[in-house]
Symmetry: C2
Subunit: 339 residues, 2 copies
């Protein structure tokens, strides 16, 4: 009988749960109605109930290896306490792991959401053929995750992978982290809207102006900027070129430092891939001697054979974190059973 | 009986050899008179003879575990071929490992010189209490090495650790690697002299002017700029502040990405530590949320206890690469014997 892991993705708005077996087959996936804004005790309660009913439903499908939970924020790995979570302010310094363990009567594994997404893409997504990889998740912010030799690289105390706060512009836009010019300020959905508004404020002629008018039905967001870029608006294109250059510059640093096989770009903004990837590849070639020495002939459709540096889109969409968090207990079982 | 490793440091000018036992005691150290400029066959011949006589001399001191050779350049780990070596042009694409193995009748391990220095500092130097660390070697250029869980991180094909070519100034000074604004252009001995000449060309009033006059006995170098900085020359101080800021910016990126315990700065320029380290720490605090969350109370003299990010000077000086290269065969023996 095969075993399966339960993965939980605790997002800024939704709570999602899935069961994935040890061969990577998604057995079940549900999005709970729970609004995360209703507070941690409501969320923990609903999560525990959903995990219990999922385990009951699947009791004949295999052995449950355990539960992994992806949380947006900095997690202290040893204690299972969320140390900082901008999107879940009432979860900071809350002993989330022990509370859930108490309620469930079984151990759970916490992981940062961007790390879980990286592990998911490594296990069943774009990087499934490689042992080591890096993932950037471009959403409201920019998250990062590193997987070395099949396992999430946590660093000294779980804070590794803060790739969204690597510096792109030494004298750039202020960032919530306290620095200025971080990648997050040039490659997130938030940054795209900000750069569009900056362009409008400078008085340039662009289709963005109509789209950004107050009182329109549709909210002005990064998808609209993308649509206008695709339709040929040069200002919208400039914005995505800047997204691509910023990503290329930081991925270039990472390629020079780590010489990994694969760098995966996911998150909502990655759906604008065609608008930013040409500038990304161009910048990578300019910036990284290691990339130049290892680039595949066709960066967009490389052969997985050979020692090439591949920079590509994520494959699992918003399920990456679910796959990754379900993988965590399966990986632990594997480690224990081979010891 | 203990075992020992033989380490060879093939520098741009000199060839150095040492034997270090498995407890880290330096048994022997010699600098061969061989000028590396006389070509690879002379060097290989002298190296092989020196290794043989060292092994003969030490045959009663323990078992020889093997030979490690630190080479400046990019090494293809699988084949043992030097792929690129700016300081040893006639070694490029030369199957150095198999040539030496043929002459010696035993296997040898090649390693990039900056990686070997990192491994040396991790084993017996500043990072000896930590499993994972990063080292920057500030010399003619800027080399880098990463040690994760006690072993050099090579990446996909041995090119990892090119930290001197991470980007500091997006529109900065051209670099030999093809990019512009690399760390090497702001933190190497070469860069310090260039920045001093740039300052002189701008016509500022500085003590550097007399020191740089043609026809003086002493060559104008980074040590003179350091001496003037220490003596209070504001232009020389500005240059070292820039060295520190550039290092702080890139170490900040590395701290955010990797969350390692320890970042070690070595190489000749590190003797100017007091001139550049204040700006380094200041920039780190500005740039890295992970550093701010993990900085020791006194960055300059941190306690090794606790999970702090420590940025400090190397301890082994120019012997780091000898210790590291001698460690390579000892480490291999250890891995085999625990399998």
């Amino acid at each position: 009988m095969s075993s399966y892991g339960i993965g939980v993705d605790l997002g800024g708005t939704n709570l999602r749960i899935a069961a994935v077996d040890d061969r990577g087959t998604l057995l079940e996936k549900t999005t709970l109605g729970t609004q995360v804004s209703r507070g941690r005790s409501v969320v923990v309660n609903d999560m525990v109930q959903a995990i219990r009913s999922l385990a009951t439903k699947l009791q004949r499908s295999g052995e449950m290896a355990g539960i992994g939970i992806a949380v947006p924020g900095i997690i202290e790995m040893e204690t299972g306490i969320v140390r900082k979570s901008p999107n879940l302010p009432d979860w900071a310094d809350y002993p989330v792991r022990s509370e859930i363990e108490k309620a469930l009567g079984t151990s759970v594994i916490l992981e940062n959401d961007a790390n879980a997404a990286a592990l998911g893409e490594k296990w069943q997504g774009a990087a499934r053929d490689f042992d080591s990889m890096c993932m950037l998740t471009l959403g409201t912010g920019v998250g990062g995750g590193l997987v070395f030799d099949g396992k999430v690289w946590h660093g000294m105390n779980g804070m590794a992978g803060e790739l969204g706060h690597m510096n792109v512009e030494p004298e750039g836009h202020p960032c919530g982290c306290g620095s200025i010019g971080c990648l997050e300020q040039y490659a997130s959905a938030t940054a795209i809207v900000r750069m569009a508004r900056e362009a409008l404020a400078s008085g340039v002629d662009t289709q963005l102006r109509r789209a950004a008018e107050p009182g329109r039905n549709e909210e002005f967001n990064s998808r609209i900027v993308f649509q206008l870029a695709i339709q040929g608006d040069p200002i919208a294109q400039d914005i995505f070129n800047r997204v691509g250059r910023s990503l290329g510059r930081k991925i270039g640093d990472l390629v020079n430092a780590l010489n990994l096989h694969m760098y995966v770009i996911g998150g909502g903004v990655s759906s604008a891939w065609e608008a930013f990837s040409p500038a990304l590849y161009e910048e990578l070639r300019k910036r990284s001697l290691v990339y130049v020495a290892t680039a595949p002939e066709r960066p967009e459709s490389p052969s997985p054979q050979g020692k090439h540096t591949i920079v590509t889109r994520a494959l699992l969409g918003s399920d990456a974190g679910l796959y990754g968090s379900a993988r965590l207990p399966l990986q632990q079982v594997q480690i224990v059973s081979t010891m």
